[in-house]
Structure formats: C-alpha cells, structure tokens
Symmetry: C2
C-alpha cells in the first residue's frame, strides 16, 4: 500500500474563547497535533496564558491582547475589541496582497453572535451567497449523523436563501463526510408538496429544480422526526425553526438523561442495578454524547470558520478541530464556491433574490447562540 504524503493543513485556534479558555483549548490542541502529523496550529491568545505551548512542534503562538467574553454584545466584539483572540484568529484566514492566507480554517468556542458578525465583517460572503448560515450535526439511530442548517443565523429566510443553504450544506457533507451526493431534505410539517408556508412551498420548487439539474440530490420534504432516522444526510430549514429544533432536541436529551439518573438513584436496589447495567448505559451515553457532534460550520464566508460549543470540554473541542481539519483538507471552500457558481450559471434567477429584498444589514443576519 503506497502512502501519499499529506498536504499541510493549518488551523487557527482562538485559544481564549469558550467557558474554559486555554484550560480546554490547549490540551485539545495538543491531542489534535499528536493525531495529525500533517497539521500545524496557530494558537491565538494572550501569550502568558499559552506558555505551555511555546515548545510544541508544529505550533506557533499568535499574540492577541483582548478576549471577547461569552456575554459581550456583538457591537463590543465588532467595534471595541479589535485585538481580540477571536478577531486575530479569523484574520489569519484572509489573504493579504494576494498571498495565500496563513490559516486554512479557524476554530473558536467564543460567543456565536460575535463570531458570526466578526467573520462576516472580516471575510465577507462568497459570490452568490446572501447570508452565511450555521450548520451542525445531530446523531441518528443508525449510528451516523444528519447535518442541519441553518441553526440560528437567519430568522427570516426567503426560498432563495433555503436553496443557497442546500447548496452549501451539500458541499459541507461531501467535504467532511465524503458523501458525494448527500441526500437533501427540506424541513416541513408533512411530506406532501402542498404542505407548509408559502416560502417553504416555493423553496420546495427551487430545490426540486436544482435536483432535476443535478446540483443537489433533493429527496423532498422531511419532518422533525426524520432528523434522527438517518434517511437524509442534510436537513435544510430557516434559522428560527432550526434553532428551535436543535434546542428542543437538547432539552429532551437532557430530560431523558436526568430521568434515567433519578430512576437509577432511587434506592440501594436501583443503584445496584445501575452498576450492573453500567457498561450498557455508558455505550448508550456515548452514542448520544453531544461532544461527539461538536463543531458547527459557518458557511458562505470567504474562509472556513468553525464554532465549538462554549461549554466544550477537551474531547468536544478536539471534535471541532477535527471537523475543521477535514473541511480544510477536503477543500470545503472550493466545494461551496463550485456548487454556487454552477447553480448561478444554470438558474441565475432561482438563486439570486428579486430586486427589493433586504439581503444585508442587521436584520438580515441576526445571530443567535446556535451551538
């Protein structure tokens, strides 16, 4: 078996972001480096806090003097903290004077609203994309996962936006999961084409056209329950609905784990049963462990930005690093670009919005805590 030399993949990490900062991001970075011999890391943050990484091979410390706090308003991150670790890390994705950018992708566990706003401001959106979207994965009962977008970046979407999400999401799944023709479903309240709001029905038409033109593999409407069956690879929805679905799922999972704990903790008898059932319960917990699904992609920007959950621990943050690495190595940015360009050329009217629509400004991208 011949082994091809792997190209170097360089990730920028906002080491100060998240609830735990360097105490989580550094051990995760170290484990990640050991696992990927072709990876290089640009560790961004206050040098004093990153001392232990000074001697690491394939890692460089990039200094930043400020930190965006988890509760900082978007305006503070955008206008006041111009030397924040988040901003410096994102800036490493920009090409300066035509030279290749220093980093291939950036990962931060910082506040989602700030991350989206700063990324959008610094990187700008790709041609043909009105609004960036947030994509993440949910586990399925077949042991895999379903990618979903948008999860909260856009509260009011047109049918054209939903088509753009389908194109970008297909590129993401093909890059990160290696599925060339990911199955795309439109989240609706029934499988029949007559179901849903006017926007959803129109989006269904656009997705069917894009499917017929071979731009995506559209299989039709899906319902909330289909997120977990593994029958589709990608679920497309607006950010309001996606965020509600994501948080409903999180809330229910938390409730179920709480109830299982309560019931097994009732008496010495149930505690003994828990001991015996432990290995099984642990495997169950592993399969639904949200840490295995950490790392949301901010899609549609001229640069690869990944958002880790703010409360991520080492394992979770490493998962996010792995996702960013896979995306960079498999040229996600080019894939998004290619799909959008192909769609633009085939049906310019379908993907571009009609003249009067509001496609920019604060209203267009109201970023929320999506991950």
């Amino acid at each position: 078996m011949s082994v091809l030399p792997l190209e170097v993949v360089r990730l920028a990490i906002d080491c100060m972001g998240g609830d735990h900062g360097p105490s989580v991001t550094l051990p995760a970075a170290k484990a990640f480096l050991e696992r990927h011999p072709n990876a290089e890391l640009l560790l961004v943050g206050m040098p004093d806090a990153l001392k232990e990484a000074f001697a690491w091979p394939r890692a460089r410390i990039i200094a930043a003097s400020e930190v965006v706090q988890m509760d900082d308003p978007v305006e503070v991150a955008l206008r006041r903290k111009k030397d924040s670790s988040m901003r410096v890390a994102i800036n490493l994705l920009k090409s300066v004077d035509g030279a290749a950018p220093l980093a291939d992708a950036c990962v931060s566990a910082g506040n989602t609203g700030a991350l989206m706003a700063v990324s959008r401001y610094l990187l700008k959106t790709l041609d043909g994309i009105d609004r960036p979207a947030i994509a993440s994965v949910m586990p399925t009962q077949t042991g895999g996962y379903t990618t979903m977008l948008d999860l909260g970046a856009n509260v009011d979407c047109t049918a054209e936006h939903l088509l753009q999400f389908a194109l970008m999401g297909s590129a993401l799944v093909s890059a990160v999961d290696g599925k060339d023709e990911p199955k795309v479903g439109l989240l609706n309240i029934g499988e029949e084409v007559i179901k849903g709001s006017e926007t959803i029905k129109r989006a269904g038409e656009l997705l069917r056209q894009a499917g017929a033109a071979g731009q995506i593999n559209f299989i039709g409407n899906v319902e909330g329950k289909d997120i977990f069956t593994g029958e589709v690879d990608l679920v497309v929805c607006d950010g309001f609905v996606g965020n509600v679905a994501l948080k409903t799922a999180e809330g229910l999972a938390t409730m179920i784990i709480t109830i299982i704990r309560q019931e097994f903790g009732r008496s010495w008898l149930t505690k003994a049963a828990a001991l015996i059932a432990m290995p099984v319960l642990k495997r169950f917990k592993d399969r639904v462990d949200h840490r295995r699904f950490n790392g949301a992609a901010l899609l549609g920007l001229r640069g690869l930005v990944f958002k880790s959950h703010g409360a991520a621990d080492q394992l979770a943050f490493e998962t996010a690093l792995n996702r960013a690495y896979d995306a960079a190595r498999n040229r996600l940015l080019d894939r998004v670009h290619d799909r959008i360009i192909a769609a633009l050329q085939a049906q310019p009217s379908a993907i571009e919005e009609s003249g009067g629509a509001d496609v920019s400004g604060d209203k267009a991208t109201q970023v929320v805590q999506a991950a």
Copy 2:
C-alpha cells in the same frame, strides 16, 4: 367529608376513527365509564361494530354510516362523507334551536386535517378568534407537563394570533390542570426581547401588554429546551414551529428508546443486565410514555373537540377521554370565551387583526397531522 353530587358530563366519541377503530375505542370507553360514575357516553359509529356496547349503562349508540379514513383528503371528509362517525360526533356539540347540545365534548382519533376542517365548518370559531389552534402536552423532567400550542393548524401566524393562542392556552391549562395563573412563555431563539423575527418581537410586545393587564401570566421568551424543564406551563408558537418541535421531540425519543433496546440486546450479558434493570427502565419508560400525554385540544371553536393520536392504544385513548372530560367538567369553553372577551374589551386593537389580513379560507388553516 361531604361529597357533592357531580354534574353529568356527556362525551361524544367517534368510535370508528384512528388506526384501530372500535377495538381500541370501545374498551377505552368502557374503562372510562367505570372510572367516572357521572359520565355518559354517546358512542358514534356503525351499529354493527358497536354491538358490545348496546347494554352498557350510561352509554348510547348513535348511528353513522360512513368512516373518514386516516388518509382521506380534507375535501372528502368535508363534502362527501356527510354521515361519517366523525361528523356525526362533532354535530352532537351543536345546539339545535337553542336547546343545550347533546354532548359537552367530542373525542376522535381520526385524521387531524379532517377533524379540524369538519369541526371548524360545523362549529365555527368563537368571537375574537381568527383561527383555531391545536394544543397538546409534553412531559417535563419535574414529572409534570408543559402545554404547547399551536402544533400545526396554522403555518403562518401574526402576532395577534399568537396572543389569541396565549389566551386560549391559558384557559386550557387552568381548566384541565387546575392552575389559575399558568405561566406563559413565547417560543423564541433566545430569552432577550430583541431576539427573533419581526412577528415574534411584536407578539412579545402584545403578550407583555396582556401580562401587564392581568389577562395572562407572561414570563417572557423561552427556548426549545425550556419545553421540558417545567418552568413554564404553556409555550406559545406558530403551527409550523410547534409541529417541527413536536416531531423533533418524537423522533429523538424514538431514537433513544431504539438505542437503549439495541444496547441491552447486544449479548446474553447485556440481556441479563436488562433483566435486572427492568423495573427501573420500566419506570423511566412510563415517565416518558407518550400514551400518558395523549389528547390534543382543538381550541377556539364553539365546542370542545379533542384529538387522540391515530395510533392510540386503549390506555392512550382513555387518557384523551379523561382530558376531554376534565375540560368539559371545568367549563373550558366558557373559560376561553371569558378570557377572549376580557382581552377584547381591554385592548380591542391588540387582539383583532388589522383590516386587510387573510383570516379565513383554506390558506388560513392548513391543518396537518399534529398529533
């Protein structure tokens, strides 16, 4: 302890509806009758199929010659099957020539779209209500449940509709759960008032005004995860979002139970562990058992209609009968009416829609399989 004589409560049951028809509805009806000495039942369906109930005390058979099938389009239920068990049962809620209606509430496990359309056609909406809504309950980790509406009757809602849902839902919770001032949350993508779409922000304003006027107990925005914490009694949302949240929760619950089964079924060792953990797993399953939460209310009509899950078994159908019974006994219809009238008098502009809006017709109520 003195026992007050209970008033008679009379339920009409569409015995033919649902996946199983009389084989489920009749045993449930019998168990219900035994439990409620002051209840009377009007059992609607093909007399041949209901023979076993002929001799029951406090039950009468009302003949109908047709059955609305689970996959019948709304038009068939509405225009063709004029002697369906569903339609005859709903008709028993209508007062004829000023006399009291024969039944206080009606329960059907038939197809949701047909049930909503026929109910709306026969009963009409209450004054001040533009659109009926579907309300149901979800379990919480504190052992209680949260009522949610709308779950799929209305895909496009205005802020005024959401206020109406809050008023009707508060009446439902107070009637069925005995909570006088149920805590109302508006489903959103963040707790801050600046979050959400324009419609949601405007709905937040209306709900705050109604809260300040003492018409509801509004506690602010809630997120998907809050459905399961038990911190609010009522979650208000549009039918698209509500339906997606409901089905996402159903899908995740199914996945989790599937995974637990798979993991406990792996080997003789895990099967032995399952035997030992059985009593605990059973209590867990009981606590999240959807049969304990069956029975969605169709609110805003001039009559009390309850929808059982189509796949309901005897226990589940009995739960729906109990909910309808509680609603009738605690005068839910009057409570909805009173709340709407009070709100109308206090802020007529807030509850009534602006002139041009589409508040009727097919577009307004696009009913889906919500329960």
